[in-house]
Symmetry: C2
Subunit: 298 residues, 2 copies
């Protein structure tokens, strides 16, 4: 990360794929132009950083060459906006390969989630972060996403990892709907980690609540597709202008909704998610389009 | 698979790694001799098949070259015993690469679990299996392991997938401890899948219960380390001679216990699991050694 800590809006662009047909197993190729355009959009909207290869960037599905290329494209098109890169992988040695690639591609920081196949213990996850921190000078974001990784952090483990040299931020999962409970969660995280480590909210429908509760940053899915609207949320602390999307996020997950939105807006080719993940059905796509109309007419 | 259906004992060898030091991030290399020896042992004990690159074979952690090499080694050392190969991966295109590699390496069948990062729908998982079945003539084993994949099959989805041309067997997760409930589960699976598709039990402590309830095959973790003892269970339907291991399986998971057993018996180098997975602590290893002593003294 640059000289200042990781705060404000971090936009998470999709990594759109272009497929060579509709038959099962049709080849998928990185849509480099779409990636470059999403990064440019986010930078021009004033995002404080762009995080490539988050869950929204489908990092877990991409091969090493694709991942490296995505970071190169981002650095080339971010116009100086700091670029973070997701480096998670099932095997520690692969994580270290991705860290090295991100360094060489010019990333300003890395994002690490403990993906699991075999359930991992707290000690195993700590050791993964320790290993990464000893192998890079780049700031590391601890990425907690129990829905995708199957691993559950505790505040105590946040604290143990955040005390490692190199940890810059903790990306926490969505907060409870109740503002008092949400505040309690954020307070517990902030109490567990050192002062210099920022706390970032994820789960876009939680963003306004998280920022009000004292989170320093928003790791934003919709910020990768609609960066101006996301920047407005950070500026005003209010998310009413994005609210029509939240029920769709709850029903279908943020990735599939963000992909449908990008496809509808011409920011990604049709059916842009890597298989086995499929896009939304026509009915849900129609509802995404309606929600987008509702946003623009506000 | 050979001319006969997939039945009896399928031994699941470990894929031992040899590490070049104890520092964080030390390189890990496939221990080819250990793999070959485990395969030879299983074949000589009369296993009906060996399944390389199951969860026990750490497939999810290995790179493409390692996976291909493991299948080549197995085919070379199985002395005619059929060899199955795990082909699961997060991305469909990677699964197809592993299928092609398994074919070229001479495997007799493939094992496929729907690993997830983004939660998958039943339709997405069906499409994954359909894609694989249209890309290979090899028999496919539907591998259901909710603990590692995060995906839960229903009997209806078993039936839908098992009706695809090419599905040879369904590997079901551990059964309830109550024999009547276990029988109900097996009956429901058998009723859901076509007659020619065999049903295999996994979760070694469930094996005897599963075989008694009509499962045709045992996909066996301990069969990769102690194939003679596993063959005896299949022959007699009784698991008393292996029972001292089951509490350790319950407490630490089968992979870590099997690895500790193989290391204790000199079948694998020390600390043979790929990081971030770590082996058992000294106390648990001592209990594994005691359990192995109890087995051999019977």
């Amino acid at each position: 990360m640059p000289s200042h800590p990781l705060t404000g809006l971090s936009a998470f662009p999709l990594t759109p794929m272009r497929r060579s047909g509709t038959r099962p197993g049709a080849a998928e190729h990185l849509d480099e132009e779409a990636v470059a355009h999403l990064v440019t959009r986010a930078a021009e909207a004033g995002a404080d950083s762009v995080t490539m290869l988050g869950s929204t960037g489908s990092y877990a599905y991409l091969d090493r060459a694709e991942r490296r290329r995505v970071v190169e494209l981002a650095v080339a098109h971010a116009a100086g906006t700091p670029v973070l890169a997701g480096v998670g992988a099932l095997r520690t040695s692969a994580v270290l390969d991705h860290v090295r690639d991100a360094e060489e591609a010019g990333a300003d920081g890395v994002l690490l989630a403990p993906i699991t196949y075999q359930p991992l213990s707290a000690d195993e996850v700590f050791e993964l972060f320790r290993t990464v921190c000893t192998h890079t000078e780049l700031p590391v974001v601890l990425y907690d996403n129990p829905t995708t990784t199957g691993f559950r952090f505790t505040p105590a483990l946040y604290g143990r990892i955040a005390a490692l040299d190199g940890i810059a931020s903790v990306k926490i999962p969505p907060l409870p709907a109740d503002p008092v409970e949400a505040q309690d969660v954020v307070d517990a995280v902030r109490a567990a980690v050192p002062q210099h480590v920022t706390v970032g909210i994820s789960g876009d429908p939680s963003a306004a609540r998280g920022l009000r509760a004292g989170c320093h940053a928003w790791f934003s899915v919709i910020g990768g597709v609609l960066p101006e609207a996301a920047a407005r949320l950070v500026r005003t602390g209010d998310d009413a202008h994005l609210a029509p999307l939240w029920p769709l996020f709850a029903e279908h997950g943020s990735l599939r909704v963000a992909a449908a939105a990008a496809e509808h807006l011409g920011l990604a080719p049709a059916d842009c998610l890597p298989r086995p993940v499929q896009g939304l059905d026509p009915n849900a796509r129609h509802r995404v389009a309606e929600a987008l109309e509702a946003l623009t007419s506000q």
